[in-house]
């Protein structure tokens, strides 16, 4: 299931997280929200992002 979760704090702080995407798809899927809300102050790629990237590379080698 592909999901985007955004938490809005009472002091105006905003954190966006993505879940269930393969590699760069998560950034593409959430870009419209990031652009609509303001400017990106910080971005962190997590383990899931890199795991899928690694899997993609393995599959490409097999072809």
């Amino acid at each position: 299931m592909k999901k985007i979760e955004i938490t809005f704090g009472p002091q105006g702080e905003v954190t966006l997280k993505t879940e269930g995407f393969a590699g760069k798809q998560c950034q593409e899927a959430s870009r419209f929200l990031e652009q609509a809300l303001g400017s990106v102050a910080e971005e962190t790629l997590t383990g899931e992002y890199y795991q899928v990237q690694t899997k993609d590379r393995v599959e490409q080698k097999r072809e």
């Binding site: 299931m1 592909k2 999901k3 985007i4 979760e5 955004i6 938490t7 809005f8 704090g9 009472p10 002091q11 105006g12 702080e13 905003v14 954190t15 966006l16 997280k17 993505t18 879940e19 269930g20 995407f21 590699g23 998560c26 950034q27 899927a29 959430s30 419209f32 929200l33 990031e34 609509a36 809300l37 303001g38 400017s39 990106v40 102050a41 910080e42 971005e43 962190t44 790629l45 997590t46 899931e48 992002y49 899928v52």
Partner: protein
């Protein structure tokens, strides 16, 4: 999670700002060209970046807040809107919009994200946390 982003809110959508104000019980007065404030700068507080003293108190729309003597000015600028307001305690604004207008920014962000997600046909679920934070869960590929 595949990536985490921290975002600085910028107000660019008057429709979403009006929805945010409705959510908080505030009213946007379209076309009101002045907003109530103390009327002159006090102490050593710096002027908002890029503005002169003459700009203070002038706006393109205003936000009226029940129980607050002062108002928030909405100033149209290139690419969006700037919120101008006086945090002096007697004006009653900071108690209602939070420090740095945090509660108004929070409400704006929620309404703007809902608008954009629904425009794409995504389902949006809202939940409130005990610390005052509000979370939107946006499910891609589902109905409204």
């Amino acid at each position: 999670m595949s990536h985490i982003t921290k975002i600085d809110i910028e107000v660019t959508d008057l429709t979403a700002l009006k929805a945010a104000c409705r959510r908080l019980g505030f009213t946007v007065v379209d076309g009101q060209k002045t907003y109530r404030w103390y009327g002159r700068p006090v102490g050593e507080a710096p002027l908002p970046e890029g503005l002169s003293i003459e700009n203070l108190g002038r706006c393109d729309h205003a936000i009226s807040i029940p129980g607050a003597e002062y108002e928030i000015g909405v100033r149209a600028e290139k690419g969006g809107y700037r919120l101008l307001w006086d945090s002096y305690e007697r004006g009653g604004l900071e108690q209602r919009v939070g420090k740095g207008a945090g509660l108004l920014k929070q409400a704006y962000g929620i309404e703007k994200a809902k608008l954009e997600a629904r425009r794409k046909g995504y389902s949006v679920y809202e939940s409130r946390k005990t610390d005052g934070a509000i979370t939107l869960r946006i499910q891609l590929g589902g109905g409204r």
